[in-house]
Structures are given as C-alpha cells and as structure tokens.
C-alpha cells in the first residue's frame, strides 16, 4: 500500500504538512487605518451632535420657542460655561462631583466584589440575599437620599452612602452573572489540571468571569454617577461645596435656565467622558484579548 512508500520520510512530511495547514488556517489581522476610524467612529457622533445643536439654534432663531427663560440659545449656555471657566469655577464644580463619584465608586468596588463572589459561590448566601440584591438594582437610588439624610445628616458621608447603595448591587450582580456564565467546560478542564477550591476560584472562575464583572463595573459607575447627582440635587447645602448637582439646583432656584442647561450638559459630558476614558477601554481590552470583540 501507499503507506510503505512514504515510511522513510514520514516524519519530515508530517512537519511540513502541519506547517502548511497552520499557515493556511491562521487569520491575518491588521490595524484599521486611521482614516477609516475617523469616518466610521468619530464622524457619526459629531454629525449627531451638530444636528442637535442645529435644531436647538433653529428653535431659538426662528422664534418657535421665544422665551429665553424656557429655552436659552446654545450661545447663551456656552457663555455661562465660559464665564464659569474664566472665573476658575468650572473645574471646581466638576472636580467636586467627580472626586466624590470616583471615591464612592472605589468603596463600592471594595464592598461589591467580595459580596458578589460570596453570593455566586455560596449557595446559602445566594438563596438568602441573591434576589434582594438583584431587586435593589431596580430601586431608583434617589429613594435612598431621604433616609440617608436622616441617618447621616447633610454631609459627604450621606453622599457616599447613596453612591454605595446604588453601585454595590450592580457590581455584585455583574460578578454573579459573570461567574454564572463561566462555561462548565472551563471548570472541568480546571479540575483535571488540579485547580479545585480556592485555586479554582483564583485561576479559573475569576478570570473567566472578568467580562461580566467589567460589564457590572461599567453599570456600577453609571449608577454611582446617577445616585450622586440625585443626592447633590436634593441635599444641596452650602458647606458641602458646589458640585454639578448643586449647580443644577442653584440654577433652578435662580430661575436661570442657561445655568440649568450648563449643569445638565456638564453632568452628561462627565458621565460620558469617564465611561470613554476608563470603562470602555477596559471592557474592550478584556474582550479583545479573548477574541470576543467582533470587528465591525
């Protein structure tokens, strides 16, 4: 048969065959050119923002809404922002809120992570507080502001308490669903390699759950930010320093619609910026390194 003829050079044949197959089946990936990135990723949101500004300006210019106390022009809002910048207050507003938000989020991370791990891995804990934890996610965190004010008074601790109550369930739930979605195959493979108990948790379960965890962090940040704004609006108190929420409330008290718009735009911008600068890159990195990011 044919096999006897090929016996002698069988070894080197096999190596060559394999090298050929590997070369044929390996997908070549390159970086996307900068121009394409600009056209596909940057241009669309710029167009959308320009469109919104255009409609806004048109509403004012064509006197469709001609009461500046209801709708100030984009230029008026820009003036307020510029004034705040020139007076050196703008960064102060932003920093007051962002530092609170990030510190609160950091505490939420410290509490939410072990809590999520406990709920995911211990059956009794899951049965006991799992449903409450996911239920808490649907409770608007603004509901925590009145009790937090009564318990802690009008101070920074109250803000942090509200952030924690908003963000901890998101972070913990993200980790729980991350752990739940770990393919059983990884656990079996881990066990045959000797990763059981704590070793299994550290080497297999946690890294495998990372995508869900990061999604939870992202949502946790969104909840932190929202909770903080609610707390700052409701519990504005001069001694607390002016954050973006207080700025919004001050604008309302002064019936200064331009200031209200300024505050809303800043809240939105900061929320998006933190997501774009921290959480989205983190998520992309996690997904890309696992080949889970489909290039669109």
């Amino acid at each position: 048969m044919a096999s006897t003829d090929t016996t002698a050079k069988d070894g080197s044949d096999l190596a060559g065959l394999e090298a050929g197959l590997d070369a044929l089946e390996t997908v070549q990936t390159g970086r996307r050119p900068l121009r394409q990135t600009l056209v596909e990723k940057v241009l669309p949101p710029v167009v959308a923002v320009a469109l919104v500004l255009g409609v806004w300006q048109a509403l004012v210019s064509f006197r469709i809404v001609d009461d500046p106390t209801k709708l100030p022009s984009p230029g008026a809002v820009w003036d307020v922002v510029r004034q705040a910048w020139l007076q050196g207050e703008l960064l102060g507003y932003i920093w007051t809120s962002v530092s609170r938000g990030l510190l609160g989020f950091f505490f939420a991370l410290l509490i939410g992570t072990p809590l999520g791990l406990l709920v995911a891995r211990v059956k009794f804990v899951r049965a006991a507080i799992g449903p409450i934890l996911s239920g808490l996610q649907s409770l608007p965190s603004v509901a925590w502001v009145p009790p937090a004010v009564i318990w802690l008074g009008l101070n920074n601790q109250m803000m942090y308490a509200v952030i924690l109550l908003g963000a901890v369930p998101s972070i913990a739930n993200g980790l729980v669903s991350g752990v739940d979605q770990v393919p059983p195959l990884f656990l079996r493979a881990g066990r045959t390699l000797g990763a059981t108990g704590l070793k299994g948790t550290w080497h297999i379960v946690l890294p495998a759950a990372l995508p869900g965890y990061v999604a939870g962090l992202k949502q946790g940040w969104a909840f932190s930010w929202r909770s903080l704004m609610a707390a700052e609006i409701i519990a504005s108190f001069p001694d607390l320093g002016v954050g973006l929420g207080q700025l919004l409330e001050n604008g309302r008290n002064a019936s200064d619609m331009a200031m209200v718009f300024e505050a809303i735009l800043l809240i939105l911008t900061v929320g998006i910026a933190i997501d774009l600068l921290i959480f989205s890159p983190l998520e992309r990195w996690v997904l890309r390194s696992r080949g889970l990011l489909v290039k669109g």
Binding site: S3, L14, R188, A189, T192, L210, R290
Partner: protein, 262 residues
C-alpha cells in the same frame, strides 16, 4: 459500593496498570426510576497501551471517561489509576484569557513546577507539538488544529501516566484530523504514555489503537474487543485498517439494531 481513586499509587498494582476499571456501573436518577448508564464494565489499560473506546450514542463512553478522570464517582465498582490522569475534550478547553504558552504554564504551576522552570518547559512542550512560535499567541489567533495541539501540550504538561481523550478531533476537518492522528501516534510512541481514547469513528479507532473496545448502548457494556496489530505508520486509507473497520462496523451496527427491535 467501594470507590477508591488511588492517588499516585506506588504499589505493585500501579506498575502493571495505567488504569484499572473493575465492575464499574453508573446510574443516574431519571424520570422512570434509576437509569443505568454503565453496567458492570471491567477494563484494564496497561502502561504504554493505546486503547480506544468505541460506541454509538448512549453507550456511556464519555461517562466512563469522566469516571476515570475523577470528575464523577461510579455508583458501583472501583477505578484505580496510576496518578491523576490528564484529560482532553472535544473542545480545546484552553483558557482564552491566557496565551497558548501561559495555558501550559498554568498546568505546570498547578502541578507545583517551580516558577523558573515553567517557561522553558512550556516551550519544550510547544516544540513537541510543533508549535514553536505559538508561545505568545492568544487562543483565538490559533486555528482549530493548532488549538487542539496546544491542548495536547497542556495535557502532557501534567506528566500523567494516562491521557484520556474524549473525541478530541471530532470537531476538526478531515485533513487536519488526519494530520493530528499522525501527531498523536508520534507523541504516544515518544512519550510512552497510556492513552484511553473515546470515539464514535470506527476508522479513527482502528487507525490509532492497539486495542479497540466496543461498548454496547443503554446500558453500556463491553460488547467485544479487538487487538489491532497493523504496523505503524498507519494511514486511514490502508487496506488493513479498512478491513478491520468493516468488521467492527458490522458488529457496531448489530448493537445499534438491537435497540430498534423492542
């Protein structure tokens, strides 16, 4: 039901058997009472022996492999292995958050290999499966055949005396599978491993094994065994392989046909 899973047995028994399966049965609670999956299976794998377990769906061949791997416990009978066996799955089961090299290093780490030695050993193993440059590659950057070879290197990193393989090439295309058959045969002969290889592919069983064990279905029992003494290197299209495959297929069809009669 005595269940002894010997850990790194150093007695005389370990020297004569890579795995010893004695009167093993397994049942699961089902809707109509207990469902018997494996019925009184006895099978030995000698050190360095290559055995394939062949059977149709429902013969419990994967269940048996899980029992030998220690992932599940038998309902009756005993399984003794010489140390913890390594296990390869139909899916590569490589961890996507690690590179190919780090996957192998994790296996070494969990086995207690010192930090300084892991990198070198991992590269040796990659070289053994002819993937010298793949150390830093992510799993998704590798083709199906390359992934299974990394998985094989990771299994070999465990330095087990017994390698269990659960249809490891079933999801690959025919050309790649054929190449990996040669590769597995080469590695088996170089390393003196014992292999227990599960498949439903008769030709694959004959091409690879020294002994083919046919299991009947529902419940799984050892129906018949063949010793394969066709010399290596074998090809899937060899006449001798084909002839034995025909004989085994006839028997397998007979086993399947019995289930349609009642």
């Amino acid at each position: 039901m005595a269940t002894t899973l010997a850990k790194a047995a150093d007695g005389t028994e370990a020297a004569t058997h890579a795995a010893r399966i004695e009167h093993v049965s397994k049942w699961y609670p089902g809707p109509a009472g207990q469902q018997l999956v494996l019925d009184d299976i006895s099978l030995d794998v000698a050190p360095g022996e290559f055995v394939t377990l062949l059977g149709a769906s429902g013969c419990g061949k994967s269940t048996l492999l899980n029992l030998v791997a220690g992932l599940d416990r038998p309902s009756g009978g005993t399984i003794t292995t010489d140390g913890r066996p390594a296990l390869m799955f139909q899916e590569h089961a490589l961890f996507p958050w690690l590179t190919a090299g780090k996957n192998i290093e994790l296996a070494l780490k969990l086995r207690g290999v010192a930090k300084g030695e892991r990198r070198g050993r991992a590269e040796e193993l990659l070289e053994l499966v002819r993937l010298k440059g793949a150390y830093g590659k992510r799993v998704h950057e590798l083709s199906g055949g390359m992934r299974q070879r990394v998985a094989m290197a990771r299994a070999l990193a465990q330095e087990s005396k017994l390698l269990l393989m659960d249809e490891p090439f079933a999801a690959l295309d025919a050309i790649t599978r054929d190449v990996l058959h040669d590769e597995l045969t080469r590695i088996w002969r170089e390393t003196q491993l014992s292999v227990l290889f599960v498949t439903h592919n008769v030709r694959e069983a004959v091409r690879l094994a020294q002994r083919v064990v046919l299991l009947s279905s529902r419940p799984g029992r050892v129906a018949r065994q063949w010793t394969v003494d066709i010399p290596h290197p074998r090809r899937i299209e060899d006449t001798a392989v084909a002839e034995l495959s025909v004989e085994i297929t006839e028997q397998l069809r007979g086993e399947i046909r019995r289930h349609g009669q009642h």
